[in-house]
């Protein structure tokens, strides 16, 4: 039997804008901090002809709260900071008893020269 592993996370708002030159910008601003059950930390590596791409996945489980429900409804508008990295939400699982919500989160490391 494993141990429940609670870790600190930061929930961020993601806003897309346009700068003076017409480039799209992404602004990430902290919304609130929380603690999530962390599971299934998984790092994977894809080697293409010239680059290594490290992509990481993790599963975070939160209590079912109004704020977390808001994230479920608009996953693209939120990002999660965990271990100082920026994670985006891929999949959402709402528990049928409405006690918890589980996010599968994904991030890419910057591509690394081989």
């Amino acid at each position: 039997m494993g141990i429940a592993r609670y870790e600190n996370v930061v929930i961020n708002n993601v806003t897309n804008g346009i700068n003076l030159y017409g480039e799209q910008t992404t602004t990430i601003v902290e919304w609130f901090t929380s603690r999530a059950i962390v599971k299934d930390v998984r790092n994977s590596l894809l080697i293409s002809e010239r680059y290594r791409i490290y992509s990481d996945m993790v599963t975070l489980t939160f209590n079912y709260t109004p704020n977390i429900k808001q994230i479920v409804d608009n996953t693209s508008l939120f990002a999660i900071t965990w271990r100082s990295n920026d994670w985006r939400i891929v999949d959402v699982f709402e528990a049928d008893d409405r006690m918890s919500i589980t996010f599968t989160c994904y991030r890419n490391d910057p591509s690394t020269p081989l």
Binding site: I18, L20, Y21, G22, Q24
Partner: protein, 137 residues
């Protein structure tokens, strides 16, 4: 005449296009949110050239006649046509302040409605226009 600054042009084009077609978003080059935006416009700048006249004086230059391409992307054909008309009516033959308060004066804007097309990959209608500016300094 001194050489004009392309960075100033870029900001002025972005400002002017955005103010013409608001609330349709305007971007420099292609943007990555095409899947969620049924209408948007991108622009590219080219041919910034102040002809240099004979002489040892570096400031012996003509007016600038840069061209910027406007690409209209829409899901509906009708929208593409209507937005292109909006830009034509507003820009073609326009003379005066370009790019808002921090912009510059243009003697003339000349819009060339080039062609319309369809991008199969992203499923969007497109209209391509060229706009030539006459910018005295």
């Amino acid at each position: 005449m001194s050489q004009n600054n392309p960075a100033t042009y870029a900001q002025a084009i972005q400002y002017q296009l955005a103010s013409i077609v608001t609330p349709i978003p305007v971007y420099a080059n292609f943007n990555r949110n095409f899947a969620t935006e049924p209408k948007f416009i991108t622009w590219n700048l080219r041919n910034i050239h102040q002809e240099v006249f004979t002489g040892t004086n570096q400031n012996n230059k003509s007016i600038d006649r840069p061209i910027f391409q406007i690409s209209i992307f829409t899901t509906l054909f009708e929208d593409a046509m209507n937005v292109s008309n909006l830009i034509l009516q507003s820009l073609h033959g326009y003379s005066g302040q370009f790019g808002g308060a921090s912009g510059f004066y243009i003697a003339k804007a000349d819009v060339d409605w080039l062609y319309n097309t369809y991008d199969n990959e992203i499923g969007l209608q497109q209209v391509i226009l060229d706009c030539t500016l006459d910018i005295p300094t």
